[in-house]
Assembly symmetry: C2
Homo-oligomer: 183 residues x 2
DNA sequence: TTTTTGCATTTTGCATGCAAAAATTAGAGC
DNA sequence: GCTCTAATTTTTGCATGCAAAATGCAAAAA
């Protein structure tokens, strides 16, 4: 059915499904086919936990070795995000937010780290867009980002890692809350 | 050639190579085929850095929630490793060492974390066996493991994460040294 | 009603053919 | 000896056929 729908044959479809499975987006049930990986709160929490540790490490590295240009790029995104926040543009805000976190991770200059982070991020994206966060949470998130930005520009690794960890822990709580409400 | 050698056809061979590529063991060069991923010191260092962060997180989690049985299992492996050390059985020591680190990560109870750790570990295994460590490094590693074991059994998360980080940083130095000598 | 048994279907894994795109090699010309 | 072009080979991606193994279902038996 999928072959027909997508206009391709089984071989490439199977390869694609296998790839999605290694990325954790699809689940392979032995001899029973494949299904979209269910959004399990537990797994989501586990993933965010790991992402928190990765961001913390990346932040530490970024403080040590990010170039001025990289910091400026992150600052630009931050300011753009601020504008989206002021305009109550949630979708735009999410995009900027994602981009900022990704840039911070990249600024760490560790491609292995960045690769894993990206993959994990793909897994929580679905859930993240569900997190139609409250005004209070949004306000708080902006304050957190402000502090993160300041720490990064000051290259204060210790403070930055703490802030990133806290930020992600709060995001985790928000996302879990949203997922459970949806379930 | 590989098809002949392995007695299989192209499709499964190509799937296997692709899988190895996603695991980072093989490198795909666009339109120029595949090759065993070269042992780059830089990439190795990056990987170990990430593994360090993962172990630290896992250790923290393990202190909070590892069962007594899990701790006992790790202790048993630790004692076995001690015996291998006493007997100067390097291969056996490596095996125990690997198993201990894996068990600690598993004791964290975060399957996402454990999965990524395993994958990263597969990437450094080749290099690790090259690290024909010196007697001094071996002695030091044993002392470090002793301290790690103690902190874990005391469920002292802060100390454990620090020790794990240090232990891995030293291992990184040793491995890098070995790789560079080989190159 | 539950269990067993047999059958049809599905899943999996592999083999092979084909065509387009890119790289490599060979050869002609300077 | 070098450069540029053309021919050949590789790589890549896809289509399709086939067979073994596992599953799900339904009829028969307990």
């Amino acid at each position: 059915m999928l072959c027909e729908r997508l206009g391709i044959s089984r071989t490439p479809l199977r390869e694609a499904i296998k790839l999605l499975a290694t990325e954790g987006l699809v689940r392979l049930l032995p001899h029973r086919g494949a299904q979209v990986a269910p959004l399990e709160a537990r797994r989501l929490a586990d993933t965010l936990e790991v992402m928190g540790a990765m961001e913390a490490l990346a932040g530490e590295l970024a403080c040590r070795q990010a170039s001025a240009a990289q910091l400026a790029g992150i600052r630009a995104l931050h300011d753009e995000m601020l504008a989206k926040y002021a305009a109550r543009d949630l979708a735009g805000y999410f995009r900027c937010n994602q981009a900022i976190h990704l840039k911070i991770v990249e600024a760490g200059g560790n491609p292995v780290l960045a690769g894993i982070y990206r993959q994990l991020n793909a897994n929580v994206l679905r859930a993240r867009y569900m997190a139609n966060l409250s005004q209070e949470r949004w306000d708080a998130a902006m304050r957190e980002h402000e502090a993160i930005m300041t720490a990064l520009e000051a290259r204060d690794a210790q403070r930055l890692t703490r802030l990133l960890r806290e930020h992600l822990a709060l995001k985790l709580a928000a996302v879990l809350n949203a997922v459970e409400k949806a379930a």
